[in-house]
């Protein structure tokens, strides 16, 4: 497949290159913002797991220049105008004073995190690690968020996602599961948008005893089970009144108490590109020149197995084991 094949199969990949975003994920935040108006009245924002920095780029381009934007990652990140980049561990206690210092010792209005682990292919494990990463981000968020503040994070909509939703609802007024059109439909990824930070009385955030590991989640003040929330239905369809289960067996009644299915909302207009579709490439670019496939803004980081690849190449492709690739 040629260089432009990926441009055809992934229009957001092509657009990111053409609009100067470091990664296609920038469109996910833009589409989330167009739905939730996340950046209204926001002056202090924290971007966690920020590298390579496409979400920070969105903040940098969208927020007024007077805003404070602090980006954290364990990996070094190319600097961005108006963004303070820190190389730090979001779970380490020493990170908190560092972060507060850069926020001018004032609480943040919004904490966002697009962090994800390298997936292994073992679904239970990948979903667990993603939820642990989300909890780590949440834990730091609780230490810096102002009451009423917002939290947006990547989530894997897998087996136990309803437990994570229930935990988040203990701390926020409104929890919504959102999927931007720029996130592939075939991917398990979605975003949890938490609005109105309101920790219960007596809740003390801490990095020493983080939530989920060591500290218990506070009791939710919100009624358990389904409540009358606004459903995001498309025009012209009727919501079905669900009849109660007719004496059917509920195999797992106790654990359902701790679960909550957050309302779902698809973000991004249908007129925008479909991340699952294949598109014909434009014939001319914005300057009327013949369209050419562009190189990515930031080259992909060298994989950890770079040396192994080089050795394999030297050995003539077969490797020392003499087996062809599976």
């Amino acid at each position: 497949m040629g260089k432009s094949s990926k441009d055809k199969r992934d229009s957001y990949y092509r657009l990111a290159k053409e609009q100067g975003w470091r990664a296609r994920s920038a469109f996910k935040l833009l589409q989330l913002n167009s739905q939730f108006n996340l950046f209204a009245d926001v002056t202090r924002v924290v971007d966690l797991c920020a590298a390579p920095g496409s979400w920070s780029q969105v903040l940098s381009r969208t927020l007024p220049p007077t805003s404070t934007i602090v980006s954290l990652d364990l990996q070094p990140m190319t600097p961005l105008p108006g963004v303070t980049t820190l190389q730090a561990d979001i779970t380490h206690p020493s990170t908190l004073p560092l972060l507060l210092q850069h926020l001018g010792n004032k609480p943040a209005d919004l904490v966002i995190s697009d962090g994800a682990p390298d997936v292994t292919g073992l679904h239970d494990l990948d979903e667990y690690i993603q939820s642990q990463l989300l909890l780590a981000a949440l834990n730091l968020a609780t230490c810096v968020l102002k009451p009423g503040g917002g939290f947006v994070a990547k989530i894997f909509r897998g087996r136990d996602v309803a437990i994570v939703f229930a935990q988040l609802r203990c701390l926020f007024d409104r929890v919504t599961c959102a999927k931007p059109r720029s996130s592939r439909g075939s991917s398990i990824e979605a975003f949890v948008v938490c609005e109105g930070y309101s920790p219960p009385a007596g809740f003390k955030p801490s990095l020493e005893t983080p939530l989920g590991l060591g500290a218990k989640f506070p009791e939710s003040r919100r009624p358990s089970g389904r409540d009358k929330e606004e459903e995001h239905l498309v025009d012209g369809v009727k919501e079905v009144e669900l009849r109660e289960a007719e004496g059917g067996e509920d195999s797992d009644h106790v654990s359902r108490e701790a679960r909550y299915i957050a309302p779902f909302i698809a973000c991004g207009d249908l007129s925008e590109f479909d991340s699952d579709a294949t598109y014909a490439l434009p014939e001319v670019d914005e300057f009327g020149q013949k369209w050419k496939s562009k190189d990515p803004i930031q080259p992909p980081t060298a994989p950890p197995y770079k040396t192994a690849l080089e050795m394999r190449r030297q050995l003539g492709g077969g490797g020392s084991g003499g087996l062809p690739k599976p």
Partner: protein, 927 residues
């Protein structure tokens, strides 16, 4: 295990608190109680790797639990080493047992595809490292190495290495390890610990086993006493290796000098003064397996040798001038007889037991080389007929020699020798028929010849015509040699060097017709096959000679012999002998590997189609599996596996008769298969494809009265660029013809269905809409002569039901309209009633029906089943009234299948759910 252990550690060892959350949960922690000689308190030694490629080795004193055995807590922690060197996340660590000289080692494996060995013997006396390590030093690009030296590095795995384990010491100074990987292999490694810390001492990969398919070996277990390794893969298979037996039977190799010295002849050619100065060297020419314990070999100077494995002894049967410079050798396994072809046109039979020999002219008037010798035998015991087919260099006539052995004499003598001339099946002007294989079915009196160009000739041995002429000649394996022909009942099995093997049925006379009933590709250059309970194939794969169990698709044995271009002989389950760099090599091939449990796909299953008890599944591993559901156990019984697709298979469907199966997926691939049973599948046609496109959904309609007995099939196919194409598939020609084409919108099409009354198609995509295009008479499309495809008529109904992708869709005709049941990426379950006549659609939605995308919808009687990525399976009562519909959830269950992609009914009352694995559900109370 680790997850439950972490909180406990955190409470007790505050100082490392900061390090723990950065540890990937994958990292193995090895706990080992060691008696601390200095403090005499029980301490636990812990090795843990981090996602940043560091390994921490620390210990702490154990606070025993007062009430029950076990640990209440840990105290007095000490960090001994922070080991740096890996370039990627650590996925596994293991602390060795105590080796010779009181040595302890740590092994680690990583994303960087290496295994590293660290000497940690001195950990107790090493100065402890501060617990307050600067956290900003995390991440890659470490500058310092603290303590512990990396003594050895192993390279070889081609993907992530998930686990590593030391074996107990067997030989002084030798350290042995096992590793498992994403690359489907488990590998054994050794290194010589006596070597004095030579830098970059490479770990030697001594054995590699591949019993799984798809991706990943996730788990393993070792039984050191019996030398057993069991591995578990993402494919659900459990493989078993007798690793000690396997690795102890090492290769043997001989140079010609060694062999000649052993049998007591000089390597110089006696009595040929012209060659005396040149010292003509003898060399191995050809091999033939005699029985389980003996093989024969010819040499370039015309010697015939035998080797007895149990006695490790070479013997010489003699030396023949006619075999000097050119010889062909073959044997009838187990008979003690070998056949020889000489350069002077003579063919010989040699009894390797008695040493008696019989020679005759291979063909009247032929004094040139015997180019080929192919053997067969038929009958049993004393009545056994032996056959030799000989060919000359430029063959239009072959000679079939037959004889019997008179065992009443001692030693036995060759009797009743006859020669029958056979006309080559190739006509004048056609490619020469160069024989590569022979088979005789005595019951049907048929003789089969395979050629280098892949064609098959069949002769009737009862015919009296001379020379005998082939009554059938057809191309079976285009362009590559047929290497084996096995008579199987009334049909045959053929194998080819192109990697394909086929089952052929032969219709009875007078109108003899060959039908390929099954055809499958293997990863081998197939050289031979045996059909017993299972089909076993052998041949070359890269630089290895490999034996594969085709039923369970696993490697039974693999010998690194250097590649295909060499002389070799093979006795199944016993040995493989070959020439490499002038030497004769021998490797035992006793079966040391088997599958304890068969499996299915090694990656996510994306599609399923069923017909009665027959199940077809397609997956991201690009394979198409056929299986049947056992009515008793509810288990899937594996059938054929075909790997023709080049990318994931996302859609599958049988024709209503079950005779044809269509499969589609990435690269716009759409293939037609003829299916006769779970073990019989043949590719019948390939539709045009496009590398940038995917097919996520298609539907089909059988067209009666088409050409041939089968009738044709009309297909409607949806592509990722929003195009809709109608194809007519003709089974008699295997051709897909484009008959109608249109574009939906710009979004990716996920589902497409003919309406129940065939008067239109229903399309659903990533935009959440249902859309109907009317068709007045779709079946007429099959009979139209079309210079250009027709345009798609304009849509009549358009109704948005979901916020985004419609992940699952089913259509049912009910009394008051057509009902469409949908599952959305928006977690909702939708019911849409369509009045086609009046172009009206009405939709009802159950929001938050699942906690994730609803990826499977199935009508089970009057009920609807949904399943989603949240691994919930829900059963709904849907009542359709005139005013609207009511929905109640009847039952909810949890599935073990992650990433559920589809569900289908099988065998009437059961439901199969596919994703990362397969679930079979039984619906109760006569629904």
């Amino acid at each position: 295990m680790l997850c439950s252990f972490l909180p406990q550690l955190r409470l007790q060892t505050k100082k490392w608190l900061s390090l723990l959350p950065t540890m990937c949960c994958l990292n193995t922690i090895t706990l080992r109680q060691i008696a601390d000689a200095l403090s005499s308190e029980d301490r636990v030694l812990v090795a843990a790797g981090t996602v940043f490629g560091e390994i921490l080795l620390w210990s702490a004193a154990i606070i025993p639990s007062s009430s029950s055995p076990g640990i209440r807590g840990l105290k007095n922690p000490k960090t001994h080493y922070r080991l740096l060197g890996h370039e990627g996340s650590i996925f596994g660590v293991n602390i060795s047992p105590k080796y010779h000289g009181g040595k302890y080692y740590l092994a680690s494996c990583s994303d960087d595809r290496t295994i590293r060995i660290w000497d940690i013997s001195q950990f107790e006396s090493s100065p402890p490292i501060s617990g307050d390590m600067d956290i900003k030093k995390t991440g890659f690009g470490h500058e310092l190495v603290q303590g512990g030296g990396c003594v050895s590095v192993g390279w070889g795995h081609s993907a992530r290495i998930w686990g590593v384990r030391f074996l107990p010491a067997t030989k002084e100074g030798w350290v042995e390890l096992l590793s498992i990987s994403e690359d489907l292999t488990s590998r054994f490694w050794t290194f010589d610990s006596e070597r004095k810390y030579a830098r970059d001492t490479e770990l030697k990969n001594v054995a590699t086993y591949r019993l799984h398919s798809g991706k990943h070996i996730w788990s393993f277990a070792l039984d050191f006493e019996r030398g057993l390794l069991a591995t578990g893969g993402a494919d659900g298979k459990i493989g078993l290796v007798h690793y000690r037996d396997d690795q102890e039977s090492r290769e043997e190799a001989w140079g010609m000098d060694t062999v000649l010295a052993q049998i007591g002849v000089s390597r110089e050619e006696p009595g040929e003064p012209n060659h005396r100065d040149k010292k003509a060297h003898d060399a191995f020419k050809e091999y033939a397996a005699l029985d389980n314990d003996r093989f024969a070999a010819t040499t370039t100077l015309g010697r015939v040798l035998t080797y007895t494995l149990s006695q490790k002894k070479w013997s010489i049967l003699g030396q023949w001038a006619g075999l000097s410079g050119w010889s062909i050798l073959a044997s009838w396994g187990g008979s003690g007889l070998i056949a020889l072809g000489a350069h002077n046109g003579l063919v010989g039979v040699l009894d390797t037991v008695s040493g008696r020999e019989w020679w005759w002219q291979s063909m009247a008037g032929e004094n040139g080389k015997v180019a080929g010798v192919f053997l067969e035998r038929a009958g049993i015991g004393g009545g056994q007929n032996y056959y030799i087919l000989t060919t000359a260099l430029s063959p239009t006539i072959f000679s079939l020699h037959s004889f019997r052995m008179d065992h009443s004499k001692s030693p036995p003598v060759l009797i009743d020798r006859e020669t029958l001339p056979l006309q080559s099946p190739a006509r004048v002007g056609e490619t020469k028929f160069l024989v590569t294989s022979l088979a005789i079915n005595q019951e049907t009196n048929r003789l089969f010849l395979g050629s280098r160009a892949g064609s098959l000739g069949i002769y009737d041995l009862s015919s009296t015509a001379r020379p005998l002429r082939a009554f059938s000649h057809s191309l079976i394996h285009p362009t590559d040699a047929i290497t084996t022909i096995l008579p199987l009942g009334p049909g045959i099995l053929t194998t080819s060097r192109n990697g394909e093997y086929s089952h052929l049925s032969i219709s009875p006379p007078p109108h003899i017709h060959l039908t390929k009933t099954h055809s499958q590709k293997s990863p081998l250059v197939i050289e031979g096959a045996r059909q017993s309970d299972n089909l076993t194939l052998w041949g070359f794969r890269g630089k290895n000679f490999t034996i594969i169990n085709q039923a369970s698709q696993h490697e039974v044995h693999s010998v690194a012999c250097g590649g295909a271009h060499r002389s070799w002989a093979h006795r199944l389950n016993r040995y493989f002998v070959w020439t490499k760099a002038g030497k004769a090599h021998l490797a035992r091939t006793h079966p040391c590997r088997k599958l304890l449990q068969s499996g299915l796909h090694g990656r996510e299953v994306k599609s399923i189609a069923t017909h009665g008890d027959l199940i077809a599944t397609g997956a991201e591993d690009t394979l198409l599996h056929l299986s049947t559901l056992s009515p008793h156990s509810g288990q899937l019984c594996p059938g054929a596996v075909v790997g023709t697709h080049t990318t994931g298979i996302h859609a599958l469907q049988f024709t209503p008769s079950g005779r044809y199966l269509f499969s589609a997926g990435g690269a716009g691939e759409l293939l037609a298969w003829r299916v006769r049973s779970a073990n019989e599948i043949v590719l019948e046609g390939t539709c045009e494809g496009w590398s940038d496109l995917r097919v996520e959904g298609f539907d089909l309609l059988p067209v009666e009265g088409g050409e041939g007995e089968e009738g044709g099939v009309l297909l409607v196919v949806g592509y990722s660029d929003s195009t809709i194409r109608f194809y007519y598939f003709s089974p008699s020609t295997g051709v897909f013809s484009l008959v109608m084409k249109g574009t939906y919108r710009t979004c990716c099409i996920l589902h497409i269905k003919f309406l129940p009354s065939n008067d239109g198609i229903l399309v659903a995509g990533t935009d959440g809409y249902l859309r109907i295009y009317p068709l007045s008479d779709p079946l007429s499309l099959a009979s139209l002569p079309l210079p250009l495809p027709l345009p798609l008529p304009p849509k009549t109904i358009e109704k948005r039901v979901h916020q985004s992708s419609i992940k699952a869709m089913r259509v049912a005709a009910r009394a008051n309209g057509v009902y469409v049941y949908t599952g959305g990426d928006d977690c909702a379950f939708g019911v849409t009633r369509i009045d086609i006549k009046n172009s009206v659609a009405e939709s009802w939605i159950v929001p938050r029906a699942h906690a994730s995308a609803v990826t499977a919808v199935l009508c089970v009687g009057r009920h609807v089943l949904t399943a989603g990525v949240d691994q919930q399976v829900k059963f709904w009562n849907v009542s359709e009234g005139e005013d609207g519909i009511t929905v109640g959830m009847r039952e909810q269950r949890e599935s073990a299948i992650a990433d559920i992609s589809a569900a289908e009914t099988v065998g009437g009352a059961k439901v199969v759910i596919v994703g990362v694995g397969v679930d079979v559900w039984e619906t109760s109370d006569g629904l």
